[in-house]
Symmetry: C2
Subunit: 348 residues, 2 copies
Amino acid sequence: MSEIVNVAVDAMGGDNAPDEVVKGALQAVRHNGQVKVTLVGRQDVIREAMDRVGGGEPYPSDRVEICHASEVIETAEPPVHAIQTKKDSSIVRGMMLVKEGKCDAFVTAGSSGATLVGGQVLVGRIKGIERPPLAPVMPTAKGPVLLIDCGANVDARASQLVQFAQMGSIYMENIVGVKKPRVAILNIGAEEEKGNALVKETFPLLKECDTINFIGSIEARDVPAGAADVVVCEAFAGNVVLKMYEGVAATLLGEIKSAMMSSLRSKIGAILVKPALKSMLKKFDIATYGGAPLLGLNGLVVKNHGNAKAIEIEHAIEQCVAFKEQKINEQFRTKMKLVDRTKARAAQ
Amino acid sequence: MSEIVNVAVDAMGGDNAPDEVVKGALQAVRHNGQVKVTLVGRQDVIREAMDRVGGGEPYPSDRVEICHASEVIETAEPPVHAIQTKKDSSIVRGMMLVKEGKCDAFVTAGSSGATLVGGQVLVGRIKGIERPPLAPVMPTAKGPVLLIDCGANVDARASQLVQFAQMGSIYMENIVGVKKPRVAILNIGAEEEKGNALVKETFPLLKECDTINFIGSIEARDVPAGAADVVVCEAFAGNVVLKMYEGVAATLLGEIKSAMMSSLRSKIGAILVKPALKSMLKKFDIATYGGAPLLGLNGLVVKNHGNAKAIEIEHAIEQCVAFKEQKINEQFRTKMKLVDRTKARAAQ
């Protein structure tokens, strides 16, 4: 029998907490016999949500636990301070469950800042990993692309980008199932001599790296077209890619919708094209891909969108199962030739 | 009578040169009595193109000149080397016409790299301007936005971004006609403490700057929605914004098109919604806004898209007329409290 994967879930995090989060967690438990969830947050609130969203349907109660946490970190709170002072918050408690080995992973739709800080400070990095990148999978015309890093480490160094490339490649191959993923570095032109100082320094290092399938530079324009499977970038630029994706799509689709509603003729046309458009848009639905993993930690933290619904929480939990089954962290340790810098320094 | 504006036009630059370029130039001359164009490039090629695209229609020949240039700088050529060695190229000749005061501006759809380098090296900067930014106007749901810098100066400094903000604001107010343009800095979160080192250093400087209407940070997601009129950013991030805009729109529209062609039902629907969609897409047509000006030079250089058509060349030429009429460079000099660093250093 396959091993049980115990996922701590932040029942208080996100715009739709606790109901959608609890619902997603229960769905995951119902649909996958390997999943155990530990709902973290205020016990009374979680119990009430379970009654509301459980729908009277049975669920295997031996695979659903509650870990009480009395506090909540709000989105607007300065993250470092929040992590330090709100010891009984759902984010801190959930991360400590991973840290202490009681859970395999932590899923949250709560404060991004606190999640990134907590991941580093509480869960901690794998020895030799310099910085943990946030790596969402995004839809493209040709299938999914992993964008690494999209917000965790601004002003990163070249050696860190090389690690991102390696982690992203392993993740994409084993979790998303893309064989020999094409790894590209985000750049402002296709030629090797183009780019800012960071890209120019990183490019030759990626070229030398024999554990990845490096295909060179990619312009942002070619990301949505699916020209690479893993796009390596510094967090500021990665965040711009991610947010532009959302922003342009939202604006365009909004404009198309109102254009279609602008006359009787176009309204009738809209009814006729709707089914075709719907199935096309499903392909671009970010919810399919679960959350964004924060990679390189002793365990796993998955960050869902603030407005995540039950289905996204469920997918994020499924992601944690695959992550454990594929032994991703062990692969990072063995394939990446990690150097423990603390030890290296001490030995000098 | 209004003053004549003499615009040098690179007849050899871009995917559709010389025909579309020459056509756009002749249209500009026909439609606007203030415009004089100097077509730069191989004389025989230009004359042939004029015969082909002139359509037998008359044009005021006193306002069309040819400046012969025997060479062409190709897109893939290393720009610095090309500018240095191809002295008789259309880009070098065109820029020299501006430098020598024979023309007011230079419009090209040719090599971006050579245009950026040539602008700095040949045309030269206004005294006190640290770096000339490339500043395209892009469509949003609420009207145009100026993105400054989108590719000229990677790894820029905070003081340079402040100049970009000031130049962008003056340009947007006087050329595009937006009163008290809302200036925002591109960031990865709305809060003041967010951002990379450059943004954190620039933010307070923009806040203090009393010649602009600074509204704080903008996330990339809100750019297409039209949340600011001028978006200040370092060139790498700006390039990502621009290219993601193009890439996401192209991918989405391509997918929508094929979805609409996927069944008889949707095909009929497509015919019905087409007029409404067409007029919506017109709003998002980048051609409306002409080219991207390279600001802060002793004169003006406007960079058109490589695949620019006649209408875009015409708009770019019109832009040069407005630029001269509104005395934008004089406004930069008087309103920006420019410090001539060479003189400042010499005085010490």
